[in-house]
Amino acid sequence: MTMTQVKPQRPWKATPREITTSFGVVASAAAISYLLVLLTGLKGKIGFILSFIIIATILQVAVGVRKFGRKALGDNIAASLIYVGAALVFLPVFSILYMAVAKGAAGLHPSLFTETMFNASFLDPIDKGGLLHALVGTMYLIIIAMIISVPMGILTALYLTEIKGPAAGFIQFIVQAMSGVPSVVAGLFIFTSVILITPLKTSAATGALALAILMIPTVTRTSQEVLLLVPHDLREAGLALGATQWKTVATIVVPAARNGLITATILGIARIAGETAPLIFTIGGADKLNLNPFKDYQSALPFYVWKGLTLGTPESLQRAWTGILILLILVLTLFVAARTLGGKKMGK
């Protein structure tokens, strides 16, 4: 008796014929719209893209209707609209990334990271001066904001997941409301409640306080999600071994969720690293290096970009683009770090 190997069937997979048809549709739509742009009054990239979308939709629908009958009409139209909509979302993303790299890279040079703007003006060419002071400022802002908001965020998350007190539902609601506080309002609040009243004046610390307000909800919500993922068995095992709740949380739950909590912190930092509006009211914006986080005006990367942008000369705009590229690299690094950590298995 011979054994016959049964090949797995994948009926949902596109057949070569289907693939050829869809390529044909796209190619012929591109060709027709190219001809339209060449021969008729339609002009430019927009004309091409619009006619391409319309023609591709019509062709796709025609193919579908020929194959499946009238029922496929609505389905095909909807599908192509959804594809077009998704593509339209990614268009600006790639454009933004491309512009930041293309325009920003022109101003990159080594002394950017070793010099400040103390002896240079924003109106000077880009090779004079640098953004060391802004980098230091951003570092201070991030560290202080982290020191304030990470314990607050994680403890709030612990309240919501471990203690589940009578106010948990309400606090959850408040945290969500807090995540919608406009950044400009956070800046104004710190200005009225700290800078105007307390001895702590405009400095990195006040800027960090404003940023902490924006960071707490992000840290709380991400930590909460992670803590909820910790299996309930682990908590029960801890309690069954006679540990108190404090011991269970400190030695079992939090270590199990450690990577996730770090991810929450990183996402929180990514949330605030690029904030500009609150800094306008709270850090003053210095042009020289300021190593004291509690005294005197401070600068930050977003503020540096903002200053370059508002001055509006070609040289200052070049500074803005370069600053934004460095800021974007910082945010991207944080983001990738959060993804890699978050993707790891829990408790490892």
Binding site: I46, A72, G74, D75, A78, A79, L81, I82, Y83, G85, A86, L88, V89, F90, V93, I96, M99, A100, M152, L155, T156, Y159, L160, I163, A167, I171, A177, M178, G180, V181, P182, S183, V184, V185, L188, F189, F191, T192, S193, I213, I216, P217, T244, Q245, W246, G274, E275, A277, P302, V305, W306, L309, A320, W321, I324, L327, V331, L332, F335, R339
Partner: protein
């Protein structure tokens, strides 16, 4: 920890039955401290939110005393110092309120359909591997600094969008909202709204995606079993189930759009006059008013800006709370 020596057990046998041990759930001291500390930190969000409201409200009341209701309705923002050195203020955020609403509506009209398309694509159309990458990109988009959106909006989008605005004006100016008193289309609410639309897409998409993903699988499969096409299934099952969640997501986006500062300030031409023509280059928004006037403001004007901040805070808070309520209701119903 108690270690019971075997001998004690033997001895106990002969002794009288010991009194039953008291079983309580009385927390230890360490637990009491732990629960106390965590609970008090848990309340911090509430405290901060109340403080924000309180501090800004105190300033707001001062402005309402000096300006009255005209602070909300007047379109003027004038500070004049006469020869005797007496300062007179006519401060009103009316034009900025109109501008805020106008820009946000444009952002919603453009952003929400795109977000729904994106969410449907990610949930029902995209292959699994592509999906994870695309979700990351959408999340990354939310982390872009707003000043980057401002720069890009001004230098890249503006030239294109001005051309689109001219086209719309040419063919659709018979619709009142697309009319313009003068052919000046740069830095218009339309363009600011487009930038805002891109900025709110991540949040609206992720909320919609979350809601769509909660659609009960049995209903989806029932629709397919009855012979529905994918779109037929979405129309019959996903939309009725998820529509209120999408509304909530859109409102969260609206809250973001209300509060956006730097990008709007960069792109929009801030003018203290009411303007309902989206294509015309004149508008404003409360958040951008605050940073526009902050540098030069003193005394009462600063207080008025803080009052404007209070109005913005209340607006976003109301919209956000309502939105969260709706989203939560929808997510609950799926479970």
């Amino acid at each position: 920890m108690y270690k019971i020596h075997p001998m004690t057990l033997l001895e106990n046998k002969s002794a009288a039955t010991p009194a039953p041990r008291e079983i309580t759930t009385k927390p230890r001291v360490s637990d009491k401290i732990f629960r106390g500390v965590v609970t008090s930190f848990g309340m911090s969000a509430l405290v901060i939110l109340t403080l924000i409201g309180g501090f800004l409200a105190v300033r707001g009341i001062q402005t309402f005393h000096s300006q009255g209701w005209s602070f909300l309705t007047s379109y003027k923002w004038d500070v004049t110092v006469d020869d005797a050195g007496v300062t007179t203020n006519h401060l009103g955020v009316g034009a900025m309120l109109i501008g805020t609403v106008l820009v946000s509506i444009v952002a919603l009209v453009v952003g929400v359909p795109l977000s729904i398309a994106m969410a449907l694509f990610l949930t029902f159309y995209a292959p699994a591997r592509l999906k994870t990458i695309l979700v990351s990109i959408v999340d990354l988009m939310a982390a872009f600094p707003s000043v980057l959106f401002g720069l890009w909006g001004f230098f890249v989008l503006m030239p294109m969008a001005t051309y689109w605005a001219k086209l719309i004006f040419k063919y659709l100016s018979w619709i009142p909202i697309f009319n313009a008193p003068e052919p000046f289309f740069e830095r218009s609410p339309f363009i600011a709204g487009l930038v805002l639309a891109i900025m709110i897409i991540p949040i609206v998409t992720s909320v919609s995606r979350e809601v769509f993903a909660q659609t009960p699988l049995d209903r989806i499969q029932a629709a397919y079993a009855l012979g529905a096409t994918k779109w037929g299934m979405i129309k019959a099952v996903v939309f009725p189930f998820g529509s209120s969640g999408v509304v909530g997501g859109a409102m969260l986006g609206l809250g973001r759009a209300f509060g956006e500062t730097v990008a709007v300030y960069t792109v929009l031409n801030i003018v203290f006059a009411p303007n309902w023509h989206v294509l015309f280059g004149s508008g404003g928004n409360i958040a951008s008013l605050i940073i526009l006037k902050w540098g030069e403001a003193t005394g009462d004007e600063t207080t008025a800006l803080l009052a404007a901040g209070f109005i913005l805070f209340v607006m976003t808070l109301v919209v956000n709370m309502f939105a969260n309520f709706i989203v939560r209701q929808t997510l609950k119903s799926g479970k």
